[in-house]
Symmetry: D2
Subunit: 386 residues, 4 copies
């Protein structure tokens, strides 16, 4: 009973950040399918994000992407968010969409381009100062498409130099989250392709540099929860970018492609003591063909369900079976939690929070979808700007 | 000597079709980097393609992509090509860029969308009649992103129906080439994900339906040359879309990522008697960060080099070693050909064709690159229109 | 109520065949860890299999592997099984463990080896006549390790010839199930690497030749349930070999690595009308480090749970959402079934069958594990004999 | 001329260690095919290794595997080697073949098993003292097969503890090489699955702990040469285990599956200054179906050819093209070296070393193969003992 109380408390305390870009249009290199009612400004993205929080109760902050969310007055933007019951979260830098970045940003062979990219990163810290954001998330599309195209060593040196400069600029309570990705948009090398590379750089930089794990950024066969466990053990897990995928891409709803994997990841978070402020839980996904707001709500719910199951793992029984080397018993303890239907538990938790039990139904019933389609007419819909 | 003569003859007779879209701008979902001098019209694409043929001597035809290459007068376009020493080749249908196609084209649950897509495919056959093209290449982006999104059976039924209707419309000397692709832009299912699916449909349709192998469209670990051998054995290999990739995407220059694989593929073509008119050798790639025309020239050369090596395999010695079960000897015969530097041989072949030995240098010296940058000012550069 | 009744009925009618080799020792190329109590004879394997059926009620038949299960008197073996409430099932041929098969069995370049392999396959049909088995399962380790080692075409010709001869030998009510596998033990080519190859051969052979899908035999990124749907649509799905894996190997308990995938596969079986006698549901796995009998019980239960969830999918609601192109709603219908905890339902079904609700606990309480450890002393434990 | 002289000098100075186990029998979990003439003792393995060195001139040392190469008198074994013109090299520990290691060795939940494994590792250092070996190579099969089976954190703690103890035991001039592997024989987690994990442990241990890159141990899509470049940059590349593979397994001859990849790896070694004593070049492969000694000779030659091509890269031209951001030119510089037929150069180098130009032919002509078949009759052939 008390234990279930702790599970409920943990579920109420959980916070999942949603990304501003998930509210805008997106697609593949083949086609961006526009959707009616999509926000045209950062303010409208916040309006939508507030709906997600309104019905889930656990998504109170929104990650920004600069320059997609560039505004004149960030303090004003923060106030706009606050008025809607949410806050501005992680600042995501973007150094991949200028023509100058064709051969890289901070690792570009051309020092002028590197300087420009670095200025953008520093500007992002300025924005953090204005928004009160704690985390700067850095993902670099930098890399090469062809063997020989550029020098791997030299690019690492350039990367290290840029990271160092940005790190020095961080305020006392600010952090740098370094993301890795196996491939795309660079196809032969990515300058930060795996957790090892991100870890090595963060280790050299210091405590404020932490690795962020994007669940869609690994080679097939990679055991992601193992990486999570290792980073937590090393004190170097800064956060998650949740999404899912089957073969490649990384934009399906979190938990949609492999809910058991998401559960295993969450179990390692629980096991490693990762449910603290030090680990940021963020979505990083886009909704190319499905309705955006309910897809984000569903993703938040999927993360919640995986969390609930992870919290339900009988730690004592598991430790005992592991200690005894009883493979089947240990696996059964884990599966027992996974096979539990936690939707009633989460419905209860929501009602205890003063929310309705079914966020999707509540959103549908709210009329918001119809309202934005009707009101957001004209102007240019937000998107990646690619 | 006679044998080397046959190799030279085969190399002179080889034909590699270049794709009109490779001359235009392209990129990833993150960014399309525009390049100066890029064509603005199908006519300018043909101008560029003529340069590729001028310096390689083996690329006399250009594949079109409808509607990217839509013109009023296809006979006029064919004449324009002819005046530049080239011809119009395969017609590539495009049923993935209208907003209607968000949930599929010929497999869309909505019959109205299916009808529209089918009309486009039939229009492509009309265009083939006008251009004199033999082959209609069909690639479908159709599929689903989420489990449950649509019914796999029903989509196959719809696909079969559309293919049947198009097949019936083909003229006596026209063919339908059906392409398969593991993933992207659909992420959960693709309606034609593998050679088996394409083969099954083509078998049902009849002789004029043939499978096309895009070298970038397979799961990791797939043995592509095995598929080539099987399709040739079954009389169902209609052609190739050449390109290369490391993990995903499929737009690197043919032979750039794994030249040994390209050689093994070409060896199976030689072995299976595939150097006939019945197998179309096409490039299907885009050049996101490198200069386009020389990248296409390089790709053509890469295919030629792989072909030359494949032709040099000592078939008799190989058969003897295989017959004896001598694993190392058999492998050594193949590797002996692969390890040969065939560039001098190809230089000779080019000179016998009245070309310069080094197509890249010749192109650079021609001034064409500078000329198109200077002349193609204003207007809208060609691209995917995504 | 009636619908849930149909689900219960289907769950009671389901039959899952267990493989005799799963009861014996097994391992990797690095080490076979022996377990106490493991059977020493085919008869003892049947004793163990009877325990699995005793506690699950849905595993009444046992697949044999020849020569691992070679006995003098197959009718006697069948009678022995019958006395224990089970039957002999599919006959699995083994043409990979003689020194002669180093370069292949039915595709070996040496006709004498091919003849020997063919004789074994025909002998297996003789055994089927004696045991009353319906299905001959053919898996070939044949292939090559190095490019050039042998001729892909010629090997396909030899394969086709052998399959044809065996097919002709089949009795009226016997079938040939052809299995495919991406890799291992051959590393460059497998002669039947994918469903397309198996399908093409089966199509040529006729109705009695059917494809069997081993869930562990695909390249990463392959959508297995898509293949299942296609084969069912084509009337060519002969059965399943269930097991699971993370990256490679194929011996983890069915449903252990990706329970959502197993559910999706089962959903396609339900959707495609595959719960008939024409589709054989078999386990094909080994238990290298975990206790064997409870691992097999757990695997059977995992298949049952996936089946129950698949049966619970609201077909009408799904079809409606698919028809409407409502991506999220359609996915939600599927996920609703998947997220259901079906263990209570299966406990009920078992009790209705006169079994205890928890087969694992029942087996543990039965004393069988202790008994076989005590009694099976001396002799040589069964294993792969590699 | 001088540059080509430097290339020749480097090729003459290169040293490639061969593994004792490659001379013995090996196979897959399905079958070990015995070969006539295979060594029965460590001494006979050295006899065979001496032949490889005799004909290649660059393979003067042999890696030992304990306990497979356990002898009473290691100093005597070293002397035996010396008399045949070779030396004993790296000591490979083996903590995966005792029944005790079913759930792990140094990471086993049972402290008694951990202690036993640790004793073996320390014994290996004793052997190094006796043989004069510099390097202790540690590869752990440790891991788990099922989610929940054991605690990832705890296993890392146990691993760190064991490594620390062994590290402390190392002599001043001894090193520990830590190997990583994606999967197999553990299928869910490997305790050292990737370079990042090995790197993190080595960093913590100190300078004498170095990472070893086995070319067959990565997830698909992994850029191995990138890892090589990173480790060299960090001063943490201890050596290579060369072999190749297509999908999984890791026992094909080095350079057989992807010669271009081997070249790219060697290029990064050249680029990063890795041709020093600090980087050990070792083969780690087995020859399941091909003749063993010539397969090892071929592998040595493949590494030499990749090295020669890497040394021929025009570093100045490459740097210039990279500096200019000329993607095609930079790639062309690299490919120019790769496309060179270096076999004549290596034939020259061999002749300058007093060897025959063609090691394979020389070995065949030596009569050694016939002699060992005739003489090695009776006794038990060496193998993995699995």
């Amino acid at each position: 009973m008390t234990e279930l109380g702790a599970v409920r408390a943990a579920l109420k305390a959980q916070r999942i950040e949603t990304p501003s870009w998930a509210y805008g249009n997106s697609g593949t290199r083949f086609k961006v399918f526009a959707q009616a009612g999509v926000p045209r400004t950062p303010y409208e993205k916040l309006d939508d994000a507030a709906q997600v929080h309104r019905f889930t109760g656990v998504a109170p902050s929104v990650a920004l992407h600069i320059p997609w969310d560039k505004v004149e007055d960030y303090a004003g933007l923060a106030k706009y968010a606050e008025e809607r019951g949410i806050t501005l979260g992680t600042i995501n830098a973007n150094v991949f969409q200028d023509d100058d970045y064709k051969l890289g940003s901070v690792t570009n062979p051309d020092p002028a381009v590197r300087k420009k990219a670095l200025q953008h990163l520093l500007e992002c810290v300025d924005i953090m100062d204005a928004t009160g954001s704690r985390d700067l998330k850095l993902w670099f599309s930098d890399g090469t498409n062809y063997p020989g195209q550029d020098d791997i060593h030299a690019r690492q040196d350039r990367l290290a130099e840029a990271l160092h400069t940005v790190y020095e600029r961080l305020g006392d309570h600010q952090r740098m989250l370094l993301e890795y990705k196996l491939f795309e948009p660079s196809f032969y090398t990515m300058d930060v392709p795996d957790w090892g590379t991100a870890y090595a750089h963060c280790l050299e930089l210091g405590e404020k540099a932490q690795v962020v794990v994007d669940t869609g950024h690994h080679a097939p066969g990679t055991n992601i929860e193992f990486i999570v466990a290792l980073l937590l053990r090393a004190g170097k897990l800064g956060g998650f970018d949740f999404n899912s995928r089957f073969y490649a891409d990384d934009d399906l709803m979190a938990g949609a492609a492999d809910p058991f994997q998401l559960f295993r990841i969450m179990y390692e978070v629980v096991r490693g003591g990762g449910f603290t402020d030090d680990v940021a839980f963020m979505l990083d996904q886009c909704h190319n063909i499905e309705a955006k707001i309910p897809a984000i709500i569903r993703s938040v719910m999927n993360v919640q369900e995986a969390t609930a199951k992870a919290l339900l793992v009988d730690a004592e029984a598991l430790a005992a079976a592991q200690h005894d080397g009883d493979v089947l018993a240990a696996n059964a303890v884990l599966m027992d939690a996974y096979n539990t239907d936690v939707r009633p538990l989460l419905a209860d938790v929501r009602q205890e929070l003063g929310l309705t039990a079914d966020p999707i139904a509540a959103y549908k019933g709210s009329g918001w979808a119809e309202r934005i389609v009707a009101e957001r007419v004209g102007g240019e819909q937000a998107g990646w700007g690619a």
